[in-house]
């Protein structure tokens, strides 16, 4: 067994051993979303019903001067050592949270710029309904997000599963664009411009720098894309009439 294999196996064994001492904690959420607030509001109303209203009506359940005992729902208990307190649902996280909106090039046609700005606006707040309203559909296969279909639903699902691409979608508009000619079809404006080159080695250095600065791909990932032979990473395309045609990666 070579030393790399040995080191990996030893590192993995040690890491598993260390993790075996981790005790499953109470699952909790740092931020409470609307469902959480609803729970709070409901709890508050329940407290009012149980304590305040009987007191106002002269009830005898809570003598003056004695604090009422709060009611609690016992949490689910697992085994002897672990308690899981579930607060169902979390606020939807958006991968674009905190992503700066890029400045679009001033030489874009108005229709293209308008669509690009609308995409950026909807992506910034993970508004999938908003994106669905922008996406071009005319009965042809939907190339937004996947060659296999799925469209905007894919974007929503990826956000849900923790690897959303809204951040990527917005960042792409901060790169240079290229205009690709399509025979018997409208011009397509595509970001990043590197996508317009058939061979990786033909991509001008400034566009390669943009890919590195994009913040979407690591150096290793760009090496992998380069080995593929051309830029096959995330790109977004809008035709000259302002129709949003694609936001895809891969080939």
């Amino acid at each position: 067994m070579d030393s790399t294999e040995t080191r990996l196996r030893r590192a993995a064994a040690e890491t598993r051993e260390v993790a075996s001492r981790a005790v499953p904690p109470s699952l909790r959420q740092e931020t409470m979303g609307r469902p959480g607030l609803l729970v709070l509001a409901t709890a508050f109303a329940a407290v009012l019903l149980v304590f305040a209203i009987p007191a106002l009506l002269g009830g005898q359940d809570t003598p003056l001067g004695e604090s009422p005992q709060p009611t609690q729902t016992p949490p689910a208990t697992i085994g002897a050592e672990t308690t899981i307190t579930m607060i169902d649902d979390t606020p939807q996280q958006c991968s674009a949270e905190g992503t700066s909106e890029p400045q679009l090039s001033s030489d874009l046609p108005v229709e293209v710029a308008s669509t690009a700005q609308a995409i950026i606006g909807a992506a910034s707040s993970c508004s999938f309904d908003g994106l669905a309203g922008i996406a071009f559909t005319d009965g042809t296969p939907d190339l937004i997000t996947s060659f296999g279909g799925g469209g905007i639903d894919n974007l929503a699902r990826w956000e849900e599963e923790g690897y959303g691409e809204m951040d990527t979608l917005i960042r792409l508009f901060g790169t240079s664009h290229a205009v690709t000619d399509v025979e018997d079809g409208p011009d397509i404006y595509v970001w990043p411009a590197a996508f317009a080159y058939d061979r990786w080695e033909d991509i001008p250095p400034e566009y390669l720098t943009e890919l590195m600065d994009l913040g979407v791909y690591s150096e290793g990932e760009l090496d992998e894309i380069a080995r593929f032979g051309s830029y096959a990473g995330w790109r977004v395309g809008i035709d000259e009439y302002g129709n949003w045609l694609f936001f895809v990666a891969g080939d």
Partner: protein
């Protein structure tokens, strides 16, 4: 652009309709496995534990659906590895690690040895797919088929990622002498 039926991230599991496992049982059984893989992928120990918790919370939110999958554990691993490799998390975790001198007070996990830390540092420099494959294979001890399910790719692609990862690591860790 070519027409293809290949989706970028195919569903990893099929609803089986069999008796779903209780979430609590699943959580207790899988937690440490997920923590181990998160620990390899993230420099920051407490971030790794947070990540494991977030991944199980995601599973809990969708448990009606996830529990009916053939491999709920593959689903939660996929959620974890993708969250672990998001740019925002890497930056956040690294900033926290840099801001802190000495042991991580928020973590319940013991520190890893210097040799193991060095290995994971190099693994984190690999491309996303390669480091995912390495962690799922070596730490997660998953089969090629299971790794393919978790990564949403073929077993052939998994083997290719592992091969290239070992090649790169072999060069970067070449000065190490077996003790």
């Amino acid at each position: 652009m070519t027409d293809s039926t290949t989706t970028r991230r195919p569903a990893i599991a099929i609803e089986t309709g069999t008796h779903p496992i209780a979430f609590e049982t699943f959580y207790r059984r899988e937690y440490q496995h997920v923590v181990a893989m998160a620990r390899a992928l993230l420099r920051d120990a407490s971030a790794a534990e947070d990540l494991a918790q977030e991944s199980f919370l995601a599973a809990h939110r969708h448990w009606d659906r996830v529990s009916r999958y053939d491999a709920p554990h593959a689903w939660v691993r996929r959620v974890m590895i993708n969250r672990a490799t998001s740019r925002r998390r890497r930056l956040g975790a690294e900033m926290r690690a840099l801001a802190r001198a000495g042991p991580d007070p928020d973590s319940t996990l013991p520190d890893l040895s210097a040799a193991t830390t060095e290995v994971w540092e190099e693994v984190r420099r690999l491309s996303r797919r390669q480091r995912q494959a390495v962690v799922l294979h070596y730490v997660g001890q998953l089969s090629m088929n299971e790794i393919g399910e978790a990564m949403g790719c073929s077993t052939g692609a998994v083997k290719s990622h592992l091969h290239r990862a070992r090649e790169t690591l072999g060069q970067r860790l070449s000065d190490w002498k077996e003790g």
